[in-house]
């Protein structure tokens, strides 16, 4: 390999690993997403021209930040000729005079954290938070995000443009919130990461590669966040995603059919993810501040540590659901608890809980409530009741793999 080839390979590597970091710092220095993006592209263009000739600088990231900033200031100056000069000249002079930040390397990580919090600001619509985070923090293209969320690209592009306009016009700050507001704001950040993960996770069977990438992207983002902000909730969410992701290989057959937990080949579970996820659960629990993500992760960890469904500590899982219900009293969590109770105390106990829930009215259109009801009837040998409940579940689900799974169960009932 020639030196030039080696250099361009290095530049490519630096682009992959550092460009979003450089971008985040440029957003702070320039206060504008579009200018920062332009500056980033210009900085790499300059690197491609200069580095093969002059060699790679000792601190490539610092070099790129300062090149990007100067290019952006040039752009502002050029534009200034077409607008009222005095307004802009002042801003540009301020920027140019500002001494280069001496603690640049320390700032870099803070800048990424600031960028995450800005993109997930709760005053932006949830869809906009997701799109903006994937675009600006992760560097996914608008087309990639549109594809993954099955949204037309122009709609998504517009959503991003509107969000950026709101950040500018309402002056959404580019900062990590103060301690007293951190809990509320962190909640949106974690929710966005989890939504990205779920999009890649629940659509995994038979879906395109991009969606699997979304789960990986969410995990990467959570790892970064945990490194920058070691809060127990962040550890809990990362643990939850790792433990869920660990089962990916066992959750569906080669044909894309769904394999339920009790039928999964546990040797296919990703042991490394399980070790890492379980350790994170322990870390979050030892903090004493135990949030909903951590409890869900703990449930997942109990499953991960068992050799089979029968060997699972269902009593502990029911206990964890009780704790979760105190934090988030939702019917879906009650349903999940009912399933655990059925495993612990038998299908009759589970059935009573699920039927009470359905009668309560909140889960009347939720296919998994009927799927659970059907399963309990099936295990109790109530063939007719099981058939009726499978029918209701089938009528309510849109997802093909779930439909196939329910149809299989329905067909397997004794005539």
């Amino acid at each position: 390999m020639t030196d030039t080839m080696q250099t361009s390979a290095s530049i490519e590597g630096i682009y992959r690993s550092e460009s979003r970091r450089v971008f985040a710092t440029l957003v702070r220095l320039l206060g504008d997403f579009d200018l920062a993006e332009e500056g980033l592209q210009e900085a790499f263009k300059a690197a491609i021209e200069q580095w093969p000739r002059d060699g790679i600088p000792a601190q490539p990231v610092a070099w790129l930040v300062s090149a990007g900033r100067f290019k952006a200031i040039d752009t502002i100056r050029r534009r200034a000729r077409f607008t009222a000069y005095e307004d802009v000249a002042e801003i540009v002079d301020e920027m140019a005079d500002e001494a280069p930040a001496p603690d640049l390397s320390e700032h870099l990580e803070d800048d990424r954290l600031r960028l995450i919090f800005t993109c997930c600001h709760p005053s932006l619509a949830p869809d906009a938070q997701i799109a903006l985070t994937l675009r600006e923090v992760c560097g996914l293209s608008t087309e990639e995000i549109a594809h993954a969320f099955l949204t037309p690209a122009p709609t998504l592009a517009q959503r991003i443009v509107r969000a950026k306009a709101k950040i500018r016009d309402a002056r959404i700050p580019y900062q990590v919130p103060e301690r007293d507001e951190l809990a509320v704001r962190l909640h949106s950040v974690l929710r966005v990461i989890y939504l990205v993960f779920n999009e890649g996770y629940s659509a995994s069977s038979g879906a395109s590669l991009t969606r699997h990438d979304l789960s990986q992207e969410a995990i990467r983002l959570a790892r970064l966040l945990l490194e920058l902000l070691p809060e127990p909730d962040v550890a809990g969410l990362l643990a939850l995603m790792l433990l869920h992701e660990s089962r990916r290989g066992a959750r569906s057959t080669a044909d894309g059919d769904l394999v339920p937990l009790d039928e999964q080949d546990r040797s296919l579970w990703n042991a490394q993810y399980i070790v890492e996820g379980s350790a994170l659960v322990g870390r979050a629990f030892s903090s004493g501040r135990i949030g909903a993500y951590t409890l869900q992760a703990a449930i997942s960890a109990v499953h991960a540590q068992a050799a089979s469904t029968d060997a699972t500590d269902w009593r502990q899982i029911v206990g964890l659901y009780d704790a979760l219900l105190r934090l988030e009293p939702t019917p879906v969590i009650e349903l999940n608890r009912a399933v655990a109770v059925a495993m612990h105390q038998g299908p009759q106990a589970g059935l009573a809980l699920v039927e009470a829930l359905i009668a309560g009215g909140q889960l009347q259109n939720y296919h998994l409530a009927y799927a659970a009801q059907a399963d309990f009837h099936r295990r109790l040998g109530h063939v007719e009741e099981a058939r009726a409940a499978y029918g209701k579940a089938l009528a309510l689900t849109q997802q093909e793999p779930e439909q196939r799974f329910l149809s299989r169960r329905l067909a397997a009932l004794p005539q």
């Binding site: 005095e86 005053s123 016009d169 309402a170 002056r171 959404i172 700050p173 900062q175 919130p177 507001e181």
Partner: protein, 120 residues
């Protein structure tokens, strides 16, 4: 930057928050240096809407739009960014009964007006 915090309340909640509580908050806002202006409003039944169409003025009884919640008052605050504005908006006492819409104030673009050319 100025932000207008619009206080919306359902009609039966208009007096849910005692005046002296609102007054105390106004004092706190003044002392913090974020106060620009604030006022509570009479119910929408007292409103008159003014329109000019084809050069003719028309007056209508009532508010511009009927909504479930009505505009009950406002605070104009000076904050450095949206987070600071939200921080103060969250302390507006009626936030516990209705909702507070926070809107950044737009500066009018006055280039081209004769009075501006004198200052350049």
């Amino acid at each position: 930057m100025n932000y207008l915090c619009l206080v919306y309340l359902a009609p039966d909640q208009l007096h849910a928050c005692p005046d002296n509580v609102c007054f105390a908050f106004g004092q706190e806002l003044r002392e913090s240096g974020h106060y620009v202006a604030a006022q509570a409003l009479k119910p929408v039944e007292s409103a008159t809407t003014v329109r000019i169409r084809n050069g003719q003025m028309s007056l209508t009884d009532g508010p511009f739009a009927e909504t479930k919640e009505q505009l009950a008052g406002f605070y104009l605050i000076d904050a450095k960014d949206l987070n600071e504005a939200i921080h103060w908006a969250s302390k507006i006492p009626p936030a516990r009964f209705g909702s507070i819409e926070v809107r950044p104030v737009r500066e009018l673009e006055l280039t081209g007006l004769p009075s501006m050319s004198a200052t350049v």
